[in-house]
């Protein structure tokens, strides 16, 4: 997955689309992302990323805050995960431009 093409990815400040909502699922005991057409079950990291998709944090900023939480994991690996995930949900129309 390539980086979303909105100029340079360092200044991109992803914001969750107003139609999508992060929601705790009591049945499966994990977070899901719900929107009118579907619901996506999320792994452990995804909700942490989505909580930072507030239009304030840059992609680098998101990576920085995740590093604090996931000690011992390589920054480049985290960044690759973050960018890949953001690209996938953007392609589904879940992030604002």
């Amino acid at each position: 997955m390539s980086e979303p093409a909105t100029g340079t990815s360092t200044v991109w400040r992803p914001r969750l689309s107003p139609k999508a909502r992060l929601r705790w699922d009591e049945v499966e005991k994990r977070y899901m992302l719900v929107f009118p057409e579907a619901a996506l079950m999320l792994n452990e990291t995804a909700p942490e990323i989505l909580k930072l998709c507030d239009g304030e944090h840059t992609v680098e900023g998101i990576v920085d805050s995740l590093i604090v939480r996931f000690v011992g994991i390589d920054r480049e690996a985290i960044k690759e995960d973050v960018v890949g995930f953001l690209g996938r949900i953007k392609a589904r129309g879940l992030l604002e431009a």
């Binding site: 107003p18 139609k19 909502r21 699922d25 049945v27 719900v34 009118p36 129309g93 604002e96």
Partner: protein, 373 residues
């Protein structure tokens, strides 16, 4: 094997509607089904749905805005943490109602438009509605809702897809659904007037593919293909009674909005049994779960885990057997029915039968003869 987890509830609150769309998916005999669930019955049903694992609620109809208790139902749904979407024709909305719905916690609105051309739009909707709908679309945005615009495509509007895309973008929709007509219910009555030609479809699909990248990130363009012109059927509802349930105004729990056309199936009402019991034990819901019911060619086809053999209602309506392979499939022994319908479409133009109580009454007294219709 227990029943699968339902994720989505489509609550058809009423069959009342000020419009008379030629393609309406409400049952042709809707006028016989006037005994609507009460507020309390819907409230209890939403609670039971949430307990079963439902996360999305679509408030639909008919025109759901007809229901006076809509604000209360929205508030209750949100108290259950259901993602709450209103599916509306829009003509009964105004700024005040929209603000009230917003305050009650409504999260998203899906508005149907018929066409960019006002005359054709109103010909298809059977009522004055074009200007009002556009005003309402703007109000929806002003009040701050995310907006999906849904347009059912057919012979009369499919050539306007470029304008439909521009209009939706102009109105600030974050999603545009261009969905080819499914030929059930009223659409089946009007099939010879509504079926587009292959050339029309090819052009429309080309326009969508070309437009998508231009709107990437601002507006998603979903396109639902015309299954008559596809080689294989769609995975109808993601499989019979798997993740979706539709509850009709009278309380029966269905796997899709059309399933009561199939004879021999019994669908329980939430008036009589709890939703939990119905979901697990309903004869109608269990009839086509899994793949034990399948015949050849589906039974030994590798695609069956993806498309579930297509649409059961269509199999019944066209081939006269709800357990048959969907005739839309090119492997179906009854695919000739589809070829004949396409040939008829190329000649075009039948009658226009509007979805209104009078026609409903007339058509529901007709003896059932699906395969020969």
């Amino acid at each position: 094997m227990g029943a699968p987890r339902p994720y989505t509830l489509v609550a058809e609150l009423t069959y009342k509607c000020p419009l008379k769309c030629l393609y309406c998916s409400n049952p042709v005999n809707f006028h016989e089904m006037r005994n609507e669930l009460s507020t309390e019955q819907w409230v209890r049903t939403f609670s039971e749905a949430a307990d079963l694992g439902v996360v999305q609620l679509h408030l639909s109809g008919g025109e759901p805005v007809v229901r006076k208790d809509l604000p209360e139902l929205i508030r209750h749904a949100r108290s259950l943490d259901l993602y709450t979407n209103l599916i509306t024709g829009g003509t009964l909305l105004n700024g005040e109602k929209l603000q009230l719905f917003r305050d009650c916690g409504l999260e998203h609105i899906q508005l149907s438009l018929q066409d960019t051309d006002g005359k054709t739009a109103e010909l298809v909707a059977g009522a004055r509605s074009y200007d009002k709908k556009l005003d309402v679309a703007r109000l929806i945005k002003q009040v701050g809702f995310p907006l999906t615009i849904n347009v059912v495509l057919h012979r009369l509007n499919i050539d306007h897809v470029p304008a439909l895309i521009a209009q939706a973008a102009d109105l600030g929709a974050q999603r545009l659904e261009l969905a080819n007509t499914q030929y059930h219910a009223w659409a089946q009555e009007n099939q010879s007037s509504l079926m587009p030609t292959r050339a029309q479809l090819d052009r429309a699909e080309g326009v969508v593919l070309e437009a998508r990248p231009r709107y990437q990130g601002t507006m998603e363009i979903a396109y639902v293909k015309a299954d008559y012109y596809s080689d294989y059927p769609k995975p109808c509802m993601g499989g019979w009674a798997r993740n979706y349930m539709v509850i009709i105004p009278t309380g029966e729990v269905l796997p899709c909005h059309a399933a009561h056309v199939i004879p021999g199936l019994h669908f329980d009402s939430v008036r009589d049994r709890s939703l939990t019991t119905i979901w697990a034990e309903s004869q109608g819901l269990n009839a086509f779960r899994g793949d034990g019911w399948m015949q050849e060619p589906c039974r030994s086809c590798p695609k069956k885990t993806f498309d579930f053999g297509g649409c059961r209602c269509q199999a019944f309506l066209l081939a006269g057997d709800a357990a048959a392979t969907d005739p839309v499939c090119s492997l179906s022994p009854r695919h000739d029915i589809i070829r004949a319908a396409i040939a008829k479409a190329e000649q075009g133009n039948g009658s226009l039968i509007y979805r209104d109580p009078k026609n409903s009454e007339r058509l529901s007294t007709r003896p059932l003869a699906p395969a020969s219709r």
